[in-house]
Every structure is written in C-alpha cells, then in structure tokens.
Symmetry: C2
Subunit: 385 residues, 2 copies
C-alpha cells in the first residue's frame, strides 16, 4: 500500500467562540490546498470526520455542507466512529484512492464543542459508550479511571507516572502554535489538580475543544507527478473493533482493538515498532497514552509508564522515539472529528522536517493511533518519508 | 466496475415497537448471510448506514455496535448523509472492494424512528437541511412542497398526477410482505387526505418507519468462486452533491445532484436509461418520484407525471420500466439509514426473479436512486444480472 499525503493543515485548536464552523472548515481546507500547491479542481471526493454536529449543533449532513462551502458537487462522505471519526475518515480516503475510483481526495475533520454546556457535551460524548455502562453511571473519565486503577494494580503504575505523560505533552505544545494549551506544567500541577474520576485528575484529561484539520491524499502516480511537493507516504491503514462495553473485553489494562490494528499495520508495511521515529497517540487520558505505548509494541506491558517518566519519549531527551509532538489530545486539544486527521497532519510535517522547536531530527517513520468509544474502535496509520 | 451482490435481506418495515434495534440488526444480517450461503468469518469489513441513532437514541458509534453484536473485531465504519446514508454506505462498500483491501463486505442500514414524539423526529430530520431554510420555518415537507408548486407551474403537473405515484407504490406494496403499508389506496384517498404542506397531502408523504436492510458485496473473483449463488453485479456506483439550501440550486423542478450522479453512472456502465427494466427511486414525497424519473433520463422534463398516471411504470401495465416495486419509500416505508440498502436488496431479488407478485418479468438491469437532504446529495447504483 502506498498513498501519498500531499498537503495538510490544522486550524488553531481551542475555545474558538468567534469562529463559525463553516469558516473554520474553509480556512483549514484552503490552507491544506495551498500547502499541497493544488487547486480545488483536482479534488475528486471529500471525506468528513465529525462526531457531534448532529447532537450539539442540530446539523448533520456535513459532507454536503463542506461541498456547498467549497462550491463543488463532488462526492462528499461523512464518516463517524466517535473519537476515531477522523482516523476512520483518513482510512476511507486511503481505501477510496486504492480503489482507483478517485485520484485525489480531501479528508477534513472538525468539531465545535465549546459553545455548549459541559453536561450537554458529556451526554453527547457518552453516545459513543455502551448503554450498559452509561446506565451504571459511568462517564468517559470513569471508564478510563477503571482502566487506570487496573493498570496501577497490575503493573505498579503510579499517579505521578501518569502525570508525566501530561507534562511531556504540555511541554511539546509549547512549541506548537496551533495547540490549545501552549503552556508547560509540572507533575506537581497535575497531582494538585482536582480529581475528575479517581485516580484521574483534571490535568490527566484531554480538554473540550473546537478545531479542524485537513489532509490531501493522492494515488502514488498522481503524487509523484506533482514535482512541487515531495509527498509523505501512508504505507499502512488498519482498523479494528471491539465491544463497546469494557466489561466484555479480553483486557482492561490494554486496548485490544489498538493492538490488533497495530499488529496488522506492522505486518502490512514490514515496519517494526523499533523503526518508528515519531508517533501521535490517542491520549484522551494520560493512562490511555501509557496503554497505547504498550499496545503499539513500543514498550513491553508495564514498562511504558516509567519510560515516559524518564523522558525517553520526550522531544530533546528521547532515545529513539518521540510521542505526541503536537501536544497530543491533552495539550494540543481534542476536537474529536479533527483529532485523527490532525495526527496525520502533524506526522506529515514531522517527516518533512517542518515542525521547528518540536522537530524530531531525521524522522523517517511515523505512526498515528486514533481510538473511539474507549477502545471500541481503533485506527492505526503508518507513514514513511 | 464490477462488484457482486451475493446476498441481501430486508426486515419488516413499519412501527416495530417490540423489536429492539440490536435484534433487528442481528436478524437482518443473519438473513443476508444465509441468503448468500456465507458464514460471518468470510466478511472482512462492515459499513453501517444510519442517520438518527445519535439524536434520537443517544447512541452513535454504530459500527462498533454491529461488530459487538456479531462478535467480530473487523473494521466497522458508519457512513452518514441524511436520507442517503444507506446508498452512501453501499458506495463505500463498493469502493472498499475495488481497493482490494477487502474481499467481502457487509453493508447494513437501520433506523429506529417510531419510538419518539413526532416533533422530535421532525427536528432531528431537519438536521439534514440548511439552517437558512430551517430558520425560515421550512420543514422537509415544506421544501418539497415548494418544489412541487414550481413543477406544477412550470409543467402543468397536477395534484392527481402526484397522487398517482402514491397509488402505484401502495399497489406494489400489496405484493411485498416486508412493506409497512400492504394496502391499496386510490387517488381519491390521497386527494382527501389532509394537507401537510400544500400541495402535498398526508398520502403524498413517506412515513416514519423502523427497519433494517443488509447486502453482502464481494469482489468479482470471490463472487464468481461461490458456485452456490449467482451474483447480481453492481456496474456503477456514483455520488454527487449540491447545496443544502434549495434556494441556491440551479433548479428546483429537478434535483441536479441526482442528474449528475445518474449521468455519470450511465457513462460509467455503458447502460442507457432505456436499458433499465426496474428502478427503485427515492420517493420521499410523490413529487420526488416525478422529478426522479426525469432526472434519471427515463422521461423528458414534464413528461413523467402523466406517465405515472397512465400506468406506464406500474407492475403489470408497464411498457418497459417499472418503478418502485418494493412500494418505494411511500408504501414500503422509509427507515432512513436502511432505505438506500433496501433499494439494492429489492433490485437484487428482482434481477434474480424472486419477488413473486411484484416481479418484473425478464428484468436484467436495475437502477437505485437514493437522495439525502432534499437533494444535497444523491447516490445512483446500476445493477445487472
């Protein structure tokens, strides 16, 4: 498999109260097109990642909205899989190019979440969870708190180690002008923040965000024909699913769907975990980043937490691999439908060497890991220079 | 393009208050698998068409729900484009097979609409419309009423002619044991039913429905290898979009996106409108069927209404082409996410000669026409024996 990423862009993530969703979409898409040095007329189809516009904005049918906004009448397809909507939209874009039905596609994700009362957002988000656990009173932080507690008991993971993931991601975000929180924090800050769902505290949790991200994908042939831009290649795009209810899963100290998707992606591409230079992983909660590093084969079970704590995956002090240079969901922000697409955009810029203060030197291989419904679905992409 | 439909099924459509959505899904999928004489282990990916589960059921992430229900961990992708969600899910399934990433995919659609207050359903449905027209007080029947009035003024179309479309579709549904209304009606019945949005009356409008439909698609190679079942072939799968707001469109006496998708589908397959023996068209309102027959090239502009009235597209009295043997959205029912998939299921059974009292003799070519957001998106499939 070889599909080219020929352009990408990310809007500012954050509380964008003065930016209407359509404007956010338009600007982000325009920027991706100009990054690709491509005109809109070269785009054959659009894939849109969005989770909450129906429930929060009373507006679905985002495919047609994007087409209308751009003034085109090409196929426009909205893909939804909770917080993995963005990654899944990229997967569908990749597959559509491999089909030879489309040569160049735009994949765009957006979410507008901060204009709503927090309980409304929480209820909408739980639309991705199992009704069984929802009825039992569990929220998303609650579900991950259960996983965190199990991980702590089984592997001795500490609250300080979880905090270290947030600290690292905030540090990276200080170098990302698009990030929601461009501000360093300390382990102490995390430990002193209030509990949201014990053992997870406020600063273990990714925020509610507005934002958009876009990538332009082309077939190998078309991407190579464009002499203006060296493409980055997607060499694996794998999806796996699991039960919505975490109580029915094989493991709650890992995310089996992520492990399955990653194993398939490595097999497909011939790339090994040790080949990966930079990865964007789905740290919706700090414990999720720890589990991700284990599920993705970067660390043995129970070994990721101390690695994060020791600065092994921090830009500047890392040995082989840097995690979440964008700031991750925690510090870059988590506009759900955009997140999985932002990951691909960040890796594209990393592999092109365009990320300035957070650049991983000599990065040649990147991996994106996007999870929905507390592990009910996972999407893994591998990118290569 | 050649993708095989190797199995299909449709649940009973109607007010299924005693059937939980998961059970409806499970039964429909089991029936499609047994129709294909295929085991679940042969399925590589799932595409799910659904519009309203998030807004009405508080439950999104339907891809994972289907995977959980079936006990599989394969890719499961929810596609949404309002009332065209089903057709668009089929398109994505077709494209995924052409990519060679998947050999056999399940496309399933469902909607559970009747358990909710009608104003809640109306508000949710308008999530697919333009906010501009929604703010002006227009509902979906209102939007189509505007189109109907324009069509009447421009082409002399009468309320009785529109009524004839409903009468025909109800007649067909008397032969469809899965249809919501298996009951004949007369033009007088339609004319005497109350106005919903002048000139459209209750019996010009498709109902609110529960229901599910599923098809199994395979690559040409895999479909041919299965000696137990003669496949039906999808030879074109085309999508086009338009503005959400009908006031911004080139025409309101036609649906430009449907015309564009149809033109591309004919070009792609080499099939002409006159080759089509049986078609399932998106008659959300009676006027929509009239416009569809013109947009699809079956009749010249302004000529479809009298053709319907004269029984030219009714099973039994038709000359060349029969429209909506399932009963269409009007009489078979319109569980939105399932509708576009039911169309493919109906055509598959027609081309296989398995539709008993509503069978079009010697049918060899079928066409499905699925529209979302009052024409903001259209999907056209052409099937061949």
């Amino acid at each position: 498999m070889k599909v080219g990423v020929i352009g990408s862009s990310t809007s500012r993530f954050g509380e964008l109260w003065d930016t209407p969703p359509r404007l956010m979409l338009k600007r982000t898409i325009d920027e991706a097109l100009s990054d690709a040095m491509l005109s809109l007329s070269s785009v054959d189809a659009i894939f849109v990642g969005n989770m909450l516009a129906g429930m929060l904005g009373g507006q679905k049918n985002l495919g047609s909205i994007v087409a209308e906004e751009l003034g085109v009448s090409i196929p426009a397809i909205r893909v939804e899989a909770a917080c993995a909507s963005g990654g899944l939209a990229v997967h569908n874009g990749v597959v559509s190019i491999l089909s030879k039905e489309y040569d160049t596609v735009l994949v765009v994700g957006l979410e507008k979440m901060t204009d709503h009362a927090s309980d409304e957002v929480a209820v909408s988000l739980m639309g991705a969870g199992s009704s069984r656990e929802r009825d039992a009173g569990l929220t998303f932080p609650g579900l991950y708190a259960v996983m965190a507690r199990a991980h702590m008991e089984q592997y001795g993971t500490t609250e300080e180690q979880m905090a270290a993931a947030s600290v690292k991601n905030h540090y990276h975000a200080t170098h990302n002008p698009k990030a929601q929180f461009q501000k360093a924090i300390t382990v102490e800050n995390v430990m002193q923040s209030m509990y949201v769902a014990d053992p997870l505290k406020l600063l273990d949790c990714s925020p509610i965000s507005d934002g958009a991200a876009a990538v332009l994908l082309s077939s190998e042939e078309v991407a190579k024909r464009n002499k203006k831009r060296e493409p980055v290649w997607i060499v694996a795009s794998q999806v796996a699913t699991d039960t919505l209810s975490i109580s029915k899963r094989k493991s709650i100290t890992s995310v089996p769907a992520a492990k399955k998707a990653a194993d398939q992606a490595y097999k497909r591409s011939g790339i090994r975990p040790s080949d990966v230079d930079v990865a964007e992983v789905h740290d919706c909660f700090s414990i999720a980043e720890i589990m991700a590093l284990e599920d993705l084969g970067f660390y043995q079970k129970g070994k990721a937490a101390s690695a994060i704590e020791n600065g092994e995956v921090t830009c500047g002090t890392a040995k082989n691999l840097v995690i979440n240079t964008s700031g991750g969901l925690k510090a870059c922000g988590h506009p759900v439908g955009a997140t999985g697409i932002k990951q691909i955009a960040e890796l594209t810029k990393q592999l092109r060497g365009e990320t300035n203060g957070r650049q991983v030197k000599g990065a040649r291989v990147g991996l994106a890991h996007n999870v929905g419904g507390s592990g009910a679905i996972a999407v893994v992409h591998i990118l290569k220079k």
